[in-house]
């Protein structure tokens, strides 16, 4: 597969061979979206455009990530679309791809200092902001006075978790400073592990003698862990909990009133946009995205497609179903059938 240097003159502007797009997803555990949604939608888009593709998952392992990139280049990929695990490996992979004349796209996460030709993403800090705003809305709804807010952050080794936290901190910190809210325990959950999250939250509750009035959980899985502990203490529904990813479980918790909100990222839109760009790059076309994002480390403006995440409360759960992100079958099982009907999901 290697060694064909049939007159390519420009990086990205590849040969007359059929385009082949390699996609590296980051992991399968931090969020259900990668394997559950992105893979599905990307596959659909590539199939529709009738291009070759190869989608792999690095399982949160940087070494794997680089290995996969090597393998894709070996396998003759003409475009590499990566969700980096960190800037270092991301840059190493992008640089290597560039030197081999392979087109590059940063998907969902911008590799700072990297050399990707395009960037397609949801803004992770914006996700965090929505969570922060959602929690304060729910606390206001509950008319809580000086509520104690606990943080259940994502994995300490996951840079996205840091970005989410920056987002919700930017909303909540001013309220802590103004003494409107009281800052409670603030802990990260290793590996986004739900079982550990339950223990950690249980200890937060013990530590504060049960005085937690709102939980900022970084995703639906962590949220569900917190809810399971609240249930055990018969506090569920009384303490608002946030989430992310609009998983069926999270949406069910919202319908049941145990969770106050989640953040829905229309992955299909992101995937479609990315696929479209990738196909264009593979064919050597230039696309105008109309937007750029500044990379402070590499000091350059990267052409970008940016999508908006959306906060989901009980009243707009139906939007997620309408989008086809979650099917009614998945969501409205058993006891939830009635709740679904109440929420106007048909």
């Amino acid at each position: 597969a290697c060694g064909d240097n049939g007159g390519s003159d420009q990086a990205g502007g590849s040969n007359d061979k059929k385009p082949k797009i390699g996609v590296i997803l980051p992991d399968s555990k931090s969020s259900a979206r990668w394997e559950g949604a992105d893979r599905k939608f990307l596959e659909a888009a590539f199939k529709a455009a009738n291009v070759d593709y190869d989608i792999q998952n690095a399982q949160g392992d940087k070494t794997q990530f680089q290995t996969i990139a090597d393998q894709m280049i070996t396998n003759g990929a003409t475009v590499l679309m990566i969700v980096n695990l960190d800037d270092g490996t991301g840059k190493a992979v992008l640089d290597k791809a560039k030197s081999q004349g392979v087109g590059t796209i940063d998907y969902d996460r911008l590799t700072l200092g990297g050399s990707a030709q395009y960037y397609v993403s949801f803004d992770n800090e914006a996700v965090g902001k929505l969570q922060g705003e959602g929690l304060s809305k729910c606390l206001t709804d509950k008319a809580a006075k000086n509520p104690v807010v606990a943080y259940l952050n994502g994995s300490p080794t996951d840079n996205n978790a840091t970005l989410f936290k920056n987002g919700y901190d930017s909303v909540l910190k001013p309220k802590f400073d103004s003494k409107e809210y009281v800052k409670g325990p603030d802990q990260a959950v290793p590996d986004w592990d739900n079982a550990q999250a339950a223990t950690i939250f249980e200890q937060m509750l013990t530590q504060t003698n049960g005085k937690i009035d709102g939980v900022l959980a970084a995703n639906d899985g962590l949220g569900n862990a917190a809810i399971s502990v609240l249930k055990k203490n018969k506090l569920n529904g009384k303490v608002p909990v946030t989430g992310q990813d609009a998983t069926p479980q999270g949406l069910q918790n919202i319908l049941a009133g145990d969770q106050c909100m989640t953040v829905y990222k229309a992955v299909k839109k992101e995937a479609d946009a990315a696929a479209e760009l990738a196909i264009a790059v593979a064919k050597g076309e230039k696309k105008d995205t109309g937007q750029t994002v500044h990379d402070p480390k590499g000091n350059r403006d990267v052409p970008a497609v940016l999508l908006e995440p959306k906060a989901i409360y009980k009243d707009n759960v139906k939007d997620v179903v309408a989008d086809g992100f979650v099917t009614k079958d998945e969501l409205c099982t058993g006891e939830y059938a009635k709740l679904c009907a109440d929420a106007g999901i048909s």
């Binding site: 555990k29 990668w34 394997e35 590996d191 079982a195 223990t199 399971s228 018969k234 099982t333």
Partner: protein
């Protein structure tokens, strides 16, 4: 060679039963000589509890005490199964994800397919048995080192969980019975009743044994010592039941939370069951024999392969039970169930309790005590409110400190030559 005729000695004299005094004296000499059984682990636990109580008074509350049990339950259950594998000098790296697979099966059967809880539990346990059989066959019959077999299992089961989860999404477990296991409590009266039954049963066994041995003229422990043991067990069971029967709800008027968590009698029952199997049946004897000297066991006519397979079956089955408890506690199963630190914590629990990685030495009680140490550390650290990095470091240091207490108290054993 002189074959001087030496008169044959009569059958061994049966020495008279020792008094309470000599019994205590002997015990004390054994302890000083380093033969100290569960003492170091108990010391460790006490030291940890005192330390945390001082650092965070909220550690020392009925509510936290109850939390401890449910937090440590899954790891303890997996560790109990691992003890069997470790007794043979083998290792099962896949136990963590095996519990994840079983939990995923449980969740699929009960939530996705909608069967009743007992079908799901059965399916999970059968899965565990099958996994254990496959691992055991590969180790015993094909002859691959257990580290490699279970490393392959560790990888494969991780994938199976992901596939069963339809690539990453959690599956909720909302069945009331299942959720109750790790989240509800026995009624206070039932708690007392169970404790009473346990003490009575223990007393009956002890007295029967005493009568039996005395009738044959064998050495027996003085009856006063037996009585003391029974009373001791009463205290060991009674105090926790009493504490757990306290009200621990924040909103006692609206909703009451009290009683012994349901997992506690489950763990206790399994502890008694497996201890019985290991110490009172020939199967258990053979497990120790194979672990101590597999060649000697083979020469004694023990079917070593069968023993080897069986311990993997027990281990994976206990992992299945651990997975069920984990699913119950989290009200859901995610692709990380049984992953992350679960395996290392479970093996660590067994080793901290005193089980050897080289085989032949260990008890199921070790897993429970070691599991308690791990749970206390986790629980206590959760109250300290450190940032992630610091928390990891302090956890490591506390674990080390606890292990040092243990090592130093076992020191004497080496010094006196009794190993």
């Amino acid at each position: 060679m002189t074959t001087t005729a030496v008169k044959k000695e009569g059958p061994a004299a049966v020495t008279p039963a020792p008094t309470v005094g000599t019994h205590l004296n002997n015990y004390w000499r054994r302890v000083r000589g380093g033969d100290i059984g569960a003492l170091p682990a108990v010391f460790m636990l006490l030291a940890l509890c005192v330390g945390f109580s001082i650092a965070r008074p909220s550690f020392f509350t009925a509510g936290n005490f109850a939390n401890l049990f449910t937090q440590g339950a899954a790891v303890t259950l997996i560790a109990m199964g691992l003890v069997f594998v470790l007794l043979l000098g083998e290792i099962d790296l896949s136990a963590g994800f095996a519990s994840g697979v079983c939990a995923a099966i449980l969740a699929n059967v009960v939530t996705v397919l909608g069967y009743p809880w007992y079908v799901a539990v059965l399916a999970a346990i059968v899965t565990g048995v099958v996994i254990g059989t496959v691992l055991g066959l590969l180790v015993a019959k094909v002859g691959i080192p257990s580290f490699v077999v279970t490393l392959a299992g560790f990888l494969a089961f991780q994938g199976v969980v992901l596939m069963l989860m339809k690539s990453g999404a959690n599956i909720s477990v909302r069945d009331d019975t299942l959720v109750a296991i790790a989240n509800r409590n026995l009624s206070p009266a039932l708690g007392w009743a169970l404790a009473a039954v346990a003490v009575a049963g223990y007393a009956a066994v002890q007295l029967l044994r005493h009568r039996n041995r005395a009738a044959r003229g064998l050495l027996t422990d003085p009856i006063a010592v037996i009585a003391a043991r029974i009373v001791g067990l009463g205290v060991v069971l009674g105090v926790p039941v009493f504490i757990l029967n306290q009200e621990r709800s924040r909103l006692a008027l609206i909703s009451s939370v009290k009683g012994v968590p349901i997992v506690v009698p489950i763990i206790a029952l399994l502890l008694v069951l497996w201890t019985f199997v290991l110490h009172r049946t020939s199967y258990g004897r053979h497990v120790y024999a194979v672990g101590g000297n597999a060649e000697a066991a083979r020469r004694a006519g023990i079917n070593v392969d069968r023993i080897r397979i069986s311990v993997f079956v027990i281990c994976s089955t206990m992992a299945a039970i651990g997975g069920i408890v984990a699913a119950s506690r989290a009200n859901s199963v995610d692709p990380n169930t049984g992953g992350s630190n679960v395996l290392l914590y479970a093996v660590g629990a067994a080793v901290i309790g005193g089980t050897s990685l080289f085989g032949g030495k260990g008890r199921v009680l070790d897993a429970v005590l070691g599991g308690a140490v791990v749970a206390v550390i986790d629980n206590g650290m959760g109250l300290m409110g450190y940032s992630s990095g610091v928390k990891y470091v302090v956890t490591g240091v506390v674990l080390l400190a606890a292990a040092t207490i243990d090592a130093l108290s076992r020191r004497r054993a080496a010094a006196t030559g009794t190993r």
